[in-house]
Symmetry: C2
Subunit: 374 residues, 2 copies
DNA sequence: AGCCTGTTCTACAACGTTGCAAACAGCTTT
DNA sequence: AAAGCTGTTTGCAACGTTGTAGAACAGGCT
């Protein structure tokens, strides 16, 4: 440990320090560290000892400068205070660790402006690439951008399929998931099934909004099972939040009082819908089945616990890191869009508690917080 | 963008590229980037343009190599799937961002072995320092270690006060928090107050275990208020989990049936205690008041919602980063141990719902998941 | 004209690492 | 004895950046 020039900071030991002690050249130490085979056993031993003695650890900064790679990837997500994102981040960290990579975490709570900064590369070159889950980026920003400033994999919803050069996109197949949502209701005996979600039809519409995709999946499932799919049971709402679900269900039942199943575009809408059903005195699931989408942490705790679509975060993380790794390795083909799996988590809102086997891969169906084991 | 030597990877633009275009020296570009004042306005403009043109962003790796600092700090926590740690991580990220620092996140699920790797510096030099929350490190490992391999700030519980050179420790003042827990029960009218917690008395005892510290705070509060503090109401349990709280409360009430308040060493114990009270038919808080410690995410959802000690994560993060910054700046004094604040979150388990004003800084007192706003 | 002052710009070196190619030692083969 | 192996070690250069020191220049003073 010596001093750094100019700053009086303590400096970690370098190859040079080891070399001096072991009485060999710097390059030989480097060779030992990198398991280069043509090193005599006796020298290797000598060097190893010296390494332990000074506590040498390779400096990523120098390696990156020399080789152009740091084995660090940046993960940019909205906020870890949403358990969806913290769980996702954990998956990325674990998965990255397996690949010998380290995760630099950025959280983007600064809105559109902050997201643009991420897209433009953080104003400094740090790791080898980025995994980026934008929330608010406008499509036109993508369109304007020829190529990303570094290898990038986008994740999440609301992204266009036309991506900048140098990037890929991992997403949930919204159409297929909504198809499965709907099929689940059909196969459990529902016949009058409505859909509720935010579907942008105005001029600012995102053609690939998750709302439209999910509606399409819903309609496809109806058709597949020979049920009427004229769109008459599609209830468009203004936003994705609980009050929208509440109001949407009110409107829906005013129009179609005989609905016996509701496919919700997300869990928050479903929670609003449940509130309306309670108000109307309809029993769930006996009178009406309700299914959500997202498997938010609240989903197991609603009454009744909510059946929902649960994205496979593990697969998502693994796929994203794979694609990014290829980009980092030098692949520079056109942007790829990859769908990852999801699971249907069956809870009580679609099946009576005693109505046959339930399987819930991620969370217990009706956890009792008071129960003892932990 | 040119190619990197040897690897065929795309290389980000450098000062040299900018300099060439602007027709100045590399150093001048560097001066512009770093706002060095003695640059003619016209040159500055020329350089700025060139920077935009090639999309130049400084490379942290080279800066770190040159200056010895990267403005990256590593945060090593057990797992982001515990909401305590994901919230904490978010605080660190935000706070670091304010200071112009970037957080490298490591999660240590590999047990003792993994924690030792962290302590030894990850086998590679990455950022400028580490914030480390160990769970399982043995005291003797600390004792054996003369000095940390890089600036380090420990956070969390169970750490000895004798730390390696080059490190500091930020913690919650367990004694004072337990004092406040107990005082809260006393000032709300309880007189027969018990304590329940895991207190290691065997040979392997950690002298600074949170159990003993919290018990000490409890006893001090009793004494302060002139209540008998002979330790007769201390119920030691085997572990910190729910069943221990359950069994502990059973044993406690067998010995002391007239207890009207229970200070719990953590929230999980408290949840076990609540179960026992339910079984015994005692009402909470009318017959017995219960107070926890940690403010786990479950705390607001127990029945009744649990009054508890909530660590101030924001202050914790800020303090830890401050201490680390000083270490990075070159401070190399003896290890410092700093206590951070906490708040007493009053919920229903100590005060009847209609019994006067309640304030709950962190979470709503009895959140209804079904309520609409979100 | 010569000198000084202050501003603007640049050359150089070094941070720690690794790919390349050359040097070297100890052999066996011609 | 020279040439040719094989295995082992090393010197050199470059990655991008910035602190130091000094060069080049302009303007004003004696």
């Amino acid at each position: 440990m010596s001093q750094h020039p100019s700053t009086g900071r303590r400096r970690p030991p370098s190859l040079r320090d080891v070399a001096e002690i072991a009485g060999v050249s710097i390059k030989t130490v480097s060779n030992v560290v990198n398991d280069y085979p043509y090193v005599r056993d006796t020298t290797r031993e000598k060097v190893r000892e010296a390494i332990l003695q000074v506590g040498y650890r390779p400096q990523v900064a120098a390696q990156q400068l020399r080789t152009g790679a740091s084995k660090m990837v940046t993960l940019a997500v909205p906020s870890l205070t949403f358990s969806y994102f913290s769980d996702l981040a954990q998956e990325f960290i674990d998965e990255a660790q397996l690949r010998g990579q380290t995760v630099v975490l950025h959280s983007i709570s600064g809105g559109r402006e902050a997201e643009r900064t991420v897209l433009e590369g953080f104003n400094r070159v740090l790791g080898d690439g980025v995994i980026f889950n934008p929330l608010q980026l406008e499509e036109k920003l993508f369109a304007r951008m020829e190529r990303t400033s570094q290898p990038t994999v986008f994740i999440g919803e609301h992204l266009p399929e036309a991506l900048p050069q140098g990037s890929d996109y991992v997403r949930i197949d919204n159409v297929s998931a909504a198809f499965d949502q709907t099929s689940h209701l059909i196969t459990t005996g529902r016949r009058r099934i409505a859909f509720i979600g935010r579907i942008d039809t105005e001029q600012g519409a995102q053609p690939h909004s998750s709302g439209s995709l999910r509606r399409d999946g819903y309609l496809a499932a109806l058709r597949e099972h020979g049920l009427p799919a004229d769109g008459g049971d599609v209830q468009a709402v203004a936003d994705w939040r609980r009050p929208d679900g509440f109001a949407g269900a009110e409107a829906l039942f005013a129009r179609r009082p005989d609905v016996d199943g509701i496919v919700c575009g997300n869990d928050d809408l479903a929670i609003g819908v449940l509130a309306t059903l309670r108000r109307l005195g309809r029993r769930v699931p006996e009178d009406v089945a309700v299914i959500g989408y997202d498997d938010t942490p609240d989903a197991p705790f609603t009454s009744p616990p909510l059946t929902t679509i649960s994205p496979d975060k593990h697969a998502l993380a693994a796929t994203a890191l794979d694609l990014l790794a290829e980009r980092i390795q030098g692949y520079d083909g056109p942007p790829r869009v990859v769908d990852t799996p999801y699971t249907l988590v069956i809870r009580d809102s679609t099946t009576a508690a005693d109505a046959g086997p339930q399987h819930s891969p991620t969370t217990p169906s009706a956890p009792d917080l008071e129960e003892l084991p932990r």
